[in-house]
């Protein structure tokens, strides 16, 4: 019998896989970005099914919101057009697609063979912000603080890398010849 959770899992999973395949099929980067947003929204639904409310909210806000807006900004800024195919990509297709098929079949076989019929009960682990917060600020305090330094370095790196080249010689200096 199909339970409502299994139906929801299959629906969100179908959206996620369809979005991932669409990302591969589309040739224009903006279409790929939009299908990636669909994948992330579907994954947020999967997180909610697993009881991870905080992670689902962060997924929508940070991934589908902030990171993808950054991607769309860069696509528009650089005026990225339709992808052009070259000879080199044929080699990747010849080796990539069979390799991926073999790899995913092997993975599926191993997972189905060894994980048995254990189920993930719905709502067994409430991942609400109230339970995640103490964990972040007690047990994982040091990594949490280190990520703030990482973010600071990333901001400075992004500004330095993307800034316009200056007269004294910026990072993106064009060589004239």
């Amino acid at each position: 019998m199909l339970s409502i959770h299994l139906i929801l899992f299959l629906a969100f999973g179908a959206i996620a896989v369809a979005g991932a395949v669409n990302l591969l099929v589309q040739t224009h980067p903006i279409n790929s970005a939009l299908s990636l947003i669909a994948v992330m929204a579907a994954l947020a639904g999967e997180y909610l099914l697993l009881g991870a409310e905080f992670v689902a909210a962060v997924q929508v806000i940070v991934y589908a919101g902030a990171i993808m807006v950054l991607f769309v900004f860069v696509i528009m800024l650089l005026n990225a057009g339709v992808e052009e195919h070259t000879k080199g990509s044929r080699v990747a297709i010849v080796f990539g697609i069979p390799g991926m098929l073999v790899g995913s079949l092997l993975l599926a076989w191993v997972v189905l063979k060894h994980s048995g019929t254990q189920s993930v009960p719905v709502g067994a682990l409430p991942g609400a912000p109230r339970t995640i917060g103490p964990l972040l600020f007690h047990e994982f305090l040091l990594p949490f603080e280190i990520t703030s330094i990482l973010i600071l370095i990333a901001i400075m790196g992004a500004v330095v890398l993307a800034s316009k080249p200056t007269a004294t010689g910026g990072p993106a200096k064009k060589v004239q010849d």
């Binding site: 339970s3 959770h5 299994l6 899992f9 999973g13 996620a16 896989v17 990302l23 591969l24 980067p29 790929s32 990636l36 994948v39 992330m40 999967e46 697993l50 009881g51 991870a52 905080f54 997924q59 940070v62 991934y63 902030a66 990171i67 950054l70 860069v74 696509i75 800024l77 650089l78 992808e83 080199g88 990509s89 990747a92 080796f95 990539g96 991926m100 790899g103 995913s104 993975l107 599926a108 997972v111 189905l112 189920s119 993930v120 009960p121 719905v122 067994a124 682990l125 995640i132 964990l135 972040l136 994982f140 990482l150 973010i151 990333a154 901001i155 890398l161 993106a172 064009k174 060589v175």
Partner: protein
């Protein structure tokens, strides 16, 4: 009740799509998006295992993965802008020299 293996299979399919996109795509922005897809697939298996083993540490790890992904996206897109400024192409086949 959804079996754990279903979540792992979905995660594996998404990861395989990410690797395939990384290999066959020629646009540097789409390649970068494939990397994000792989990170998302790994996050799904983290959350599934967290629910399976009744440990919230998995969800905290997903939070850290997202933070690192945000930092990576900012720096990576800045590098893409810098590459585009010097070479005026987004095709990775034409970006084959370390120095111009």
């Amino acid at each position: 009740m959804v079996p754990l293996s279903y979540y792992l299979l979905l995660s594996g399919i998404l990861f395989a799509c990410g690797v395939l996109g990384f290999l066959i795509k020629r646009n540097i922005i789409t390649i970068f998006m494939s990397i994000e897809l792989m990170l998302n697939a790994v996050n799904l298996s983290f959350v599934a295992f967290a629910a399976h083993w009744h440990s919230l540490a998995g969800q905290v790890f997903v939070f850290f993965v997202m933070v690192v992904a945000a930092a990576e996206a900012a720096v990576g897109l800045a590098i893409i802008i810098s590459v585009y400024r010097t070479r005026e192409t987004l095709n990775v086949d034409q970006v084959n020299l370390l120095k111009l």
